[in-house]
Structure formats: structure tokens, C-alpha cells
């Protein structure tokens, strides 16, 4: 199904199942420990041996020799695989760094070897017996020191310019010109990257934890240099990803190599928690400069956003200025994205790449502008709303209710109680402040396919390689099928995460919910057509409801219509130019109250509230969870997450969950989430948009702004730890 004109009335509008806060259909499995993740497939891959990876202990250089003798002789060891005996290994186009080092080492903890043994304990111990002789090379690890050598990336849109920024900024009545930094961050999903791999002849089966099944097949094909048809990937449950599992990582490659080395017997392998930090990807640190010029009434006349980040040679930038191109009006504008070469582990997408860190700077700068203007920060944003792409005014937004979000959010939060003068509100030892920020995240759509079938009992089964990484895909896909086919949820079986199913959008960039359900919509429409045709019904007036197909006064049960042979259909949604002809994005407004301990400088979030406009909300319960989860990650970004680079050795020092802090229960207060009533008929036939990343965008800046309001300290270097406020508080 092509989607190239805006949706009109369609069966999703009935909203009998869609739009309802239905409990997750995989909930009973997840809460009883009976959902089996990639390392837990003894049902399908019994007698698995255990793999354990040795990572490089240097950041850059060469492996001069590897002595595997002691490791191979260790009890229980079945094989040791290194670049010397792995055979020819390719680098997938999606990967910046190779999954197996040798002889060159590209980053610290890059996989150097896998030890395969009968037990986990044996594999782990034997790995320590490997002796690797490295020739260390000088590397570049310091973004600040490399800022001057950063260059314009070859792809993407590194430079944008409209009007005369420099001239307008020079003339602006009120100006902000500030530098902000954001640190490297680590995804740290709870399930480390894990894989069980097994070979049957030249066919490879991978049970792996992955967000994008079709990419996993492709990456593995390009890495092992085997045909895609020889690879079967399954990932029905994924213990979180946040971008870290968009591509296969060394767990999958090394498990496959390990299994091949022992004749195809299954090998299971999970990265250790420290390896998650330095072996895989991270969100790159940024240095950002924001310049905003405004008239006295608050109208922005000039806005510029520049960003510097680093990555390995051949890598890409963190596109921090994304949101600034579309969020506020202003006739004179520019953005610039620059990329330095750093020899740290691969930088790549983490939840809301671009916007998540870009808004940490932009929305803090807007707060500074509001203060200079002596204007309410909400009002400043309302004054600068735009209903068209500011770079191309002929291009309208498909839907844009930022103003509604700002007003509704402010009302629900009680923003009018805020004292704009910092340091005025106390609660015992706590200095209390309020802050807000806009939320913005692009709406991306991706081709997505599905197969839907009805059996003779009237059960409807949908199969797609879409993944559920905690997002609720199982449930919203089930709801889509139930709505389209007119059956209750308990008549729907949802099968996900298997490369033998039609390729889907996968989970990433908050495109998965809308795109994958749109693909399921397409398949259901094809199935409805086929049912109607089989029954001789006129497909224009056919109605699917209550487990029946109805046309005029005729009514046939689905099971009868399916017959003994059953009926099935496959289709995909292919998106046309609507994302180009219309600017498509999701919007929101975050409101936060914080307390800053007037003695210690400790910062704690006291309450959070937000209103969001993201098209149709397919399941308000799971959508709300996406938003509160993203807000929680935003608390981490604002207050604690900081992957510390040791620039002498070139690695992230605090590489475990004791030292790289992510928020704990005690850090998270009451969270209020409100969804604006919205349909976006230009986004998809589901009229939905992404929601999985929006909640992260802007929330950290709202916290920083609240900290300023609480104690009068502007911290422009995230995260806002107490050492940056102590001694400066009013």
C-alpha cells in the first residue's frame, strides 16, 4: 500500500480497540519470567556452549601477537577465535568500527577474541589467560582539544542558512550567546547485548537482542560474508535497546564465529556490563553554541545553533541542531554541524539522537533569553511559534499544537505559581524552583510489512519482523489487527521479531509504533479485500465487527469466511512524499519542579508534568509509559549521566552501573502526562506519530531551567552535579 495522500476516514477511526488503555498482551509473560530473551533459548538451542569476549585493553594501535595456548589448554575450553583464525571478516556498512579487532585496534574494548567453553565459569576464566601483545598508537580522545580540527561531515545537512543571521543578530535588541556542553552517554539497557548462535551447515541461526531484524540480517551477511538467505534472526523479546541494538554488535558476531569453530553447536554469549560501555556504541558528547537575537517583545529575529562532536574515522556527527531548524520562527537563521575524529568507541544513535542533546542547549538558551527579556518562558515560546517550516515557509506542518501543549501543560502544572526571581522559594533546607522547556522530535516514517491470516477457528494471526523493545509493539499491533478485522483482542495472535516474517520498520527513531502498525493496517486491508472477494461482498460497504463480516443484510463469521484452508494476505506500507511536502514532527511541553539542597547542592526532581501532541495515541497506557520512561532518562541526562573519558588511555572510565549513574527509583517523582487530542492524517493511515522519544526531548533543559530558578546558578555543562552549583548558590 502506497501512502502518498493524506488519510481519509478509515476503519481505524472506529477506535473500539485502538486508543484504549489495554494491558500489554505480553505482560503476563514478562511479569512471570516466562518471556525468553536471547540468552535463554535452551528450548530452541539446547546444549549451548558459552562464549566470553576479551576486549582490547588499548584504545588504538595494533595487535602484535596473541598467545592463546594457555586459554586453549584451560579446562572446558572448546575454541578460541581471534582475527588470526576467524577467516575473512567484513565490515558492515552500518558499522563504523569493526566487530573484531585485528591486527588493527580501533577502540578500547573492541573484541579481540572469543573463548568458547563448556561452562560460563570456564569461558570467563580462560579469557583471562589470553596474552595479547599490543603496539599502542597515539589516539585522539579529547573533544574539546579536537574542536578546532573538526570538519564538515560529508553526508546529511551540516550547514543550513536562511536570511542574514550575522546582520540580524548584530542588530538584535536582546541577545543570548552561550556555549553548552553535553557529555558522552551510555544506553545501559538492562539486558546486555546477548546472542545465541548456531550453524546447520552453512545456515546460521541467531537468537539475538536486536531492534532492527532486517538490518541484523544485512549486517551479519556483510560481516561474515555469507548470503542473507543463510541467516535466520529471531528477537521476540528485547531487554531494552535505546539505539544500542539498532545494529548487531560483537556479541552476535563472536557467538557466530564461536559456534562455527565448534562445528555449529549453539554458543551463547552476553556482553558483560563494562563491555556495554566501551565495546558498543554511545551517544557522543557535544559542544554547542547558541546565539539567539530577539526584539524587545520577544520575537526572534536571528537564531544560530552550531554543534561539534566526534567519532571514529568514517563515523557521523551528533546532529544537535536538528530541532532548531524547525522549532521557532525567525527570519534569519543558520545551523552548522561539525565532526572531529576521535578514537573512542563508536558514537551512534541513542534515544532521540540530535534532538535529545540539541534541546538541552536550545531550551536552556531560550530560558536565558526569556530572563533577559523579562518575559515568561512559556509566553516567549508562544510568541515564536510557527505553523510553517521556518527555512521554507511554503512547507506547512502536518499538525503542530505546540501552543496547545504549552498552555495545557502550564495549566496542569500550576506554572502561574512560579516566582521568576531565582532563589526565592524555600522548603526547609531546599531551594525550590520551576522550569519548563518545549519538546520536539521529528516524525520519521519507514516502510513496513506484515502478513495477516485467519484460521478456521476465526483466530487472526499477524506476523512481522517488528520488535517490541519495551515500547508495546505487541499490544498496539494486536489492537490494530483487532480493530481492522473486527475481533476482540483475545482472538489475535501477534508474532514478532523473526526474519522469516515480512520486513518491518523495526524499532528506532520513534518511527516503529506508527510505521509498523501502518504496515499491519496495509496487510489487514489486503486481507479484508480478500475476504470480501471470497464471499462475493462489495468491499466498499463491507464491515468487520464482532467476529463477523457484514455487507448489507448478509453476515458471515470470520471462521466461516476463512474456511478450512484459512485466508491470509501480506502487504506493506510505503510512504511517499508527505514527509517532504509537510514538515512532520511531534511536540510537547515539559514542566518540572526541583529542589536544590541549600547546603550540599544536591539536586532532586520533585515533580514533572508534560503535555504532548503526537497524533493519534494508539494505546494511552503504553504511550504514557514511553513518555514517563523518557522523562526518567531525561532526569539522568540532566543530573547524573556522564561517561567520563580518560583522555590518557582513551576509554570510558566509569564503565559500570555503580559508577555510571542512571536514575534509581528514589530519583523519580510523580509524573503527569497529558496527550493532546490530535489526528495526523498526513503521517499514516493510523493518523499516529512517534511517541517513544518525544518525552526525552527538552526535559533535561526544563530541569536545568528549574535549577536556575531554584538557586540562581546557570550550569551550561551537563550533567548538573552538585560540584557545579555549590558555592555559587544565591
Amino acid at each position: 500500500m502506497k501512502f502518498d495522500t493524506p488519510a481519509t476516514a478509515n476503519p481505524t477511526d472506529r477506535m473500539k480497540v485502538l486508543g484504549k488503555p489495554i494491558d500489554r498482551i505480553d505482560g503476563k509473560l514478562k511479569t512471570t519470567g516466562t518471556a525468553h530473551y536471547a540468552y535463554e533459548r535452551s528450548d530452541a538451542a539446547p546444549n549451548a556452549a558459552y562464549g566470553y569476549i576479551l576486549g582490547s585493553s588499548i584504545a588504538k594501535g595494533r595487535i602484535e601477537s596473541i598467545d592463546v595456548a594457555d586459554a586453549k589448554a584451560a579446562p572446558g575450553v572448546l575454541a578460541v577465535v581471534t582475527y588470526e583464525n576467524a577467516g575473512k571478516i567484513g565490515k558492515a556498512k552500518n558499522h563504523t568500527a569493526r566487530m573484531l579487532a585485528g591486527p588493527d585496534v580501533q577502540h578500547y574494548d573492541q573484541a579481540v577474541a572469543v573463548v568458547v567453553a563448556e561452562t560460563f565459569e570456564q569461558a570467563r576464566a580462560a579469557t583471562k589467560l589470553l596474552r595479547v601483545n599490543y603496539a599502542r598508537a597515539k589516539g585522539n580522545f579529547d573533544l574539546a582539544a579536537s574542536q578546532g580540527s573538526a570538519t564538515k561531515p560529508k553526508s546529511g545537512t551540516p550547514d543550513t542558512a536562511v536570511g542574514d543571521f550575522a546582520g540580524a543578530f548584530a542588530k538584535a535588541a536582546v541577545k543570548v550567546d552561550e556555549r553548552y556542553t553535553t557529555p558522552d552517554q551510555s544506553h545501559q539497557m538492562m539486558e546486555p547485548h546477548s546472542t545465541t548462535a548456531a550453524w546447520t551447515g552453512d545456515k546460521l541461526t541467531l537468537w539475538t537482542s536486536n531492534q532492527m531484524i532486517a538490518w541484523a540480517v544485512g549486517d551479519m551477511s556483510e560481516t561474515l560474508l555469507i548470503p542473507k538467505d543463510n541467516i535466520h534472526v529471531m528477537s521476540p523479546y528485547v531487554g531494552g535497546g535505546f539505539g544500542s541494538k539498532l545494529w548487531i554488535r560483537s556479541d552476535a558476531v563472536m557467538a557466530a564465529l564461536g559456534s562455527r569453530a565448534i562445528g555449529g553447536r549453539p554458543v551463547k554469549l552476553a556482553l558483560t556490563r563494562p563491555q556495554v560501555m566501551n565495546n558498543t556504541t554511545h551517544r557522543p558528547a557535544t559542544i554547542q553554541r547558541l546565539r539567539i537575537g530577539a526584539q524587545k517583545g520577544g520575537k526572534i529575529t536571528a537564531i544560530a545553533h552550531e554543534s561539534w562532536s566526534g567519532d571514529l574515522p568514517g563515523g557521523g556527527p551528533e546532529t544537535a541542531p536538528n530541532a532548531t531548524r524547525l522549532l521557532y520562527a525567525g527570519a534569519n537563521r543558520m545551523t552548522a554541524t561539525r565532526l572531529a575524529v576521535l578514537d573512542l568507541p563508536e558514537g551512534n544513535a541513542m534515544r532521540a539522537p540530535g534532538e535529545a542533546v540539541g534541546l538541552l542547549a536550545l531550551e536552556a538558551a531560550m530560558d536565558e533569553l526569556a530572563e533577559k527579556l523579562k518575559m515568561d518562558p512559556v509566553q516567549l515560546r508562544i510568541v515564536n511559534d510557527t505553523q510553517v517550516d521556518p527555512e521554507k515557509p511554503s512547507r506547512q506542518f502536518s499538525q503542530r499544537d505546540l501552543v496547545g501543549c504549552l498552555k495545557t501543560g502550564a495549566e496542569r502544572f500550576g506554572w502561574n505559581k512560579r516566582n521568576p526571581v531565582p532563589g526565592q522559594v524555600r522548603d526547609g533546607r531546599w531551594l525550590v524552583g520551576m522550569g519548563m522547556a518545549s519538546a520536539f522530535r521529528d516524525n520519521v516514517t519507514m516502510k513496513s510489512g506484515a502478513r495477516v491470516g485467519i484460521d478456521k477457528k476465526g483466530m487472526v494471526t499477524v506476523a512481522t519482523d517488528m520488535t517490541d523493545i519495551g515500547t508495546g509493539s505487541y499490544t498496539i499491533i494486536g489492537q490494530t489487527v483487532a480493530e481492522l478485522m473486527g475481533v476482540p483482542m483475545d482472538k489475535v495472535i501477534v508474532l514478532l521479531g523473526d526474519s522469516s516474517f515480512p520486513a518491518s520498520s523495526g524499532s528506532g527513531g520513534q518511527w516503529g509504533g506508527n510505521s509498523s502498525t501502518a504496515g499491519v493496517y496495509a496487510a489487514c486491508m489486503a486481507l479484508r479485500e480478500s475476504v470480501a472477494r471470497k464471499l462475493g461482498f462489495n468491499s466498499d460497504d463491507v464491515v468487520f465487527e464482532d467476529g463477523k463480516v457484514k455487507s448489507g443484510n448478509r453476515s458471515v463469521s470470520l471462521s466461516e469466511a476463512a474456511g478450512d484452508a484459512g485466508l491470509s494476505a501480506e502487504d506493506s506500507i510505503e510512504f511517499g512524499d508527505l514527509t517532504k511536502t509537510y514538515a512532520q514532527a511531534t511536540f510537547g511541553a515539559h514542566f518540572v519542579e526541583v529542589g536544590v539542597d541549600s547546603a550540599t547542592g544536591e539536586i532532586r526532581v520533585r515533580r514533572m508534568s508534560g503535555a504532548f501532541a503526537a497524533g493519534r495515541i494508539l494505546n494511552p497506557k503504553s504511550a504514557r509509559s514511553q513518555v514517563i520512561g523518557a522523562m526518567t532518562m531525561g532526569v539522568g541526562a540532566a543530573l547524573m549521566e556522564d561517561a567520563i573519558v580518560d583522555t590518557r588511555f582513551g576509554y570510558f572510565v566509569n564503565h559500570d552501573l555503580a559508577e555510571y549513574h542512571v536514575p534509581a527509583h528514589a530519583d523519580i517523582p510523580m509524573q503527569d502526562v497529558f496527550f493532546m487530542d490530535e489526528l495526523d492524517e498526513k503521517s499514516s493511515p493510523m493518523k499516529a506519530k512517534g511517541i517513544g522519544e518525544l518525552g526525552l526531548c527538552g526535559v533535561g533543559a526544563a530541569i536545568a531551567n528549574a535549577v536556575y530558578n531554584a538557586c540562581g546558578v546557570r550550569v551550561r555543562e551537563y550533567p548538573l552535579t552538585l560540584d557545579k552549583v555549590i558555592g555559587k548558590m544565591v
Binding site: S57, P75, E121, R124, A125, K128, R429, D597, A599, T600, G601, E602, R604, L639, M640, I644, D646, R648, F649, V653, N654, H655, D656, A658, E659, H661, P663, A664, H665, A666, D667, T721, L722, D723, I726, G727
Partner: protein
């Protein structure tokens, strides 16, 4: 983790003599720190002596009105003991500010005293660390040392002791009781139990090889207001940047001990005379001789401000 043999000891003396007999032996109680380190091969015992069956899990009154806390009393049980909550509130508070409910259910009184530093370079076997590998150098000096020590450091080591409980034990003037393989017992004042790093940061306590902690005794209650103020980046489940254990008597005199400042719980008895003169004077005396890095100098004002907050709390 290197392979090891394992035995369950049934008496303290037997455990100590097994430790003396078996090369590379270590005691295991809660295991929450030892196993963590063994997985990384920072600790590589060849033999583990499980001391959980020794019956050292009682809290009993002492003749002079104090409490004798068995070495194997779990952190949860020590924190929850009615006598501790009533008379040694600073200890109960310190215990529940540490780790998590799960860890406190396992971690023991003796094990907590023997916790090893959380310095990230100690934890990474690919990096130099004089504590882990004497003579290899200290990667923390000149590296990521925001969380590390400012008092009593040496050119060899700037690690901190991570325990909260030990800070409270220090302010309460607890005594560590031990037994060795010969069956000889001794009582070590907590002040002398932990060492400063000096040139041998690998030697952390005054315990002799194979010497087993059997109990920690608390002197009779001293009254006063008990406060444990822990300052950390995350609201819970995080090690202290600094912490203050305080027992403050009417009139503002009292005792103070500090976590997060040094290789051992930090207490400067002489500085306590300054308490009635306020936080600034007290902090200046506590922090005399501080050696900071560019990353951890914030601990100086933090200590002063936190002392001030503790004094205010005590008045309230």
C-alpha cells in the same frame, strides 16, 4: 574468576586455622564485595572459607553497657535492632544509607569494614593501580578522581574507603575483635583498624594474614543527637561523595567522622573542640593538610557546608 576450593567452617578458630593452613585462602561471608572483585580477578583466592555458619550473628549487651555486634550480623539486622536504633541512631542511619535493600540483607558487619575502594582504576585490571598491583603506579592521580580522597593521601594512592557503616563505627569509637589461627584474640580500636595508603596502599587494615574478625563492640551509649548525612549524586544506591557522621551534645559539643574523604573513615578528634565555634572553624580543623585535585576540590566547601547543615539539624 579463578577456580577455588570451598569449605564451610564451623568455628571461628577452625576458620582462622584453615586460613593459615591453606595458601591463598580468604574468608567469605556476605560475599557482596568479594565475589564482585573475584569476577574481575581483582581478588583471586585459591580457597574460600565460608564463615556464615559460625554463629557470629548475634547482637548482645556487653558488661559495660555497650553492644557486641557479631561479625556476621547482616547490615539489615544491625540497622533494625531496637537497641541500635534507640542508642546508636547514627549507626542505623549510616547502614540504611548504604547500598540497597538486597545488598544490606547479605552484607555483614565485618565484611563492610573490609570493603575495598570503588576507585575505577582499582576496578579495571588493564590500568595501573598500586593498591591492586603494587608498584604499577596510580592512574587515578591525574585521571578521573572527582570522587576520590583529599585527606591522608599519598603519591601512591588517593582511594577512599567506601563504607558508610565504618564512618558511624568510627564516630562511636567501636572496637574490632579478632581471633587468629592460634586462637589468640585481640581488640583493635576502630581508629587503628584502617590504614592510610602511604607507600603500601595494598595493605588496608591492621589485620594479620588469616586473622578473623569475630565482632565489633560499641561502647556504652553516649546520648546526644545522632545524624548521618550522606551526600551523593544519585538519591539512593550510590556511594558517598562525602558523608558526615555526627553525635552532637547539648551545647554543640560532640563528635564528627567523615566518609568519602580518605582511605579510612576520617576523624580528627582535635577538631571536635571547634564544634561550638561553628562549621567554618570545625571544617578548617578537620581539613587541615587537605590535598585536592582539580576534580575533587569541591569537597572542601562541601564538607564545611554539610557540617553546617548537620549543626542546624542538631539544633532543630
Amino acid at each position: 574468576m579463578k577456580a577455588f576450593t570451598y569449605e564451610r567452617a564451623t568455628s571461628a578458630k577452625e576458620a582462622a586455622s584453615a586460613a593459615a593452613r591453606m595458601p591463598g585462602a580468604k574468608f567469605i561471608a556476605g560475599g557482596t564485595n568479594l565475589l564482585d572483585l573475584m569476577k574481575l580477578q581483582i581478588e583471586t583466592p585459591q580457597h574460600l572459607i565460608d564463615v556464615n555458619g559460625l554463629g557470629l550473628d548475634k547482637i548482645a549487651p556487653t558488661a559495660d553497657g555497650g553492644l557486641r555486634v557479631g561479625a556476621l550480623v547482616r547490615n539489615t539486622d544491625l540497622a533494625a535492632d531496637a537497641r541500635v536504633r534507640k542508642d546508636y541512631g547514627v549507626l542505623s542511619r549510616a547502614l540504611v544509607s548504604g547500598a540497597s535493600g538486597q545488598l544490606r540483607n547479605k552484607a555483614t558487619t565485618a565484611g563492610n569494614l573490609l570493603q575495598r575502594t570503588r576507585c575505577p582504576y582499582f576496578y579495571d585490571t588493564t590500568k595501573p593501580c598500586n593498591k591492586r598491583q603494587p608498584g604499577s603506579g596510580c592512574a587515578a592521580i591525574g585521571g578521573f578522581n572527582r570522587n576520590l580522597a583529599i585527606m591522608g593521601t599519598s603519591e601512591a594512592c588517593i582511594a577512599t574507603h567506601p563504607s558508610d557503616m565504618a564512618v558511624a563505627m568510627r564516630v562511636l569509637d567501636a572496637t574490632v575483635e579478632t581471633v587468629n589461627a592460634a586462637g589468640a584474640t585481640r581488640a583493635i580500636p576502630i581508629a587503628d583498624f584502617h590504614r592510610l595508603p602511604g607507600a603500601t596502599p595494598n595493605i588496608e587494615t591492621s589485620l594479620a594474614p588469616g586473622e578473623l574478625i569475630t565482632a565489633v563492640t560499641l561502647p556504652k551509649p553516649i546520648g546526644g543527637t545522632h545524624i548521618y548525612q550522606k551526600v551523593r549524586d544519585r538519591a539512593s544506591y550510590a556511594f558517598a561523595l562525602i558523608s558526615v557522621a555526627a553525635v552532637i551534645q547539648p551545647g554543640g559539643r560532640g563528635r564528627l567522622a567523615f566518609g568519602g574523604l580518605a582511605h579510612k573513615p576520617w576523624r580528627v578528634e582535635a577538631a571536635e573542640a571547634q564544634m561550638p565555634n561553628g562549621a567554618k572553624a570545625t571544617a578548617a580543623a578537620v581539613l587541615a593538610g587537605a590535598r585536592t585535585t582539580s576534580q575533587n576540590a569541591f569537597k572542601l566547601p562541601l564538607v564545611e557546608r554539610t557540617i553546617g547543615a548537620v549543626f542546624e539539624d542538631a539544633k532543630a
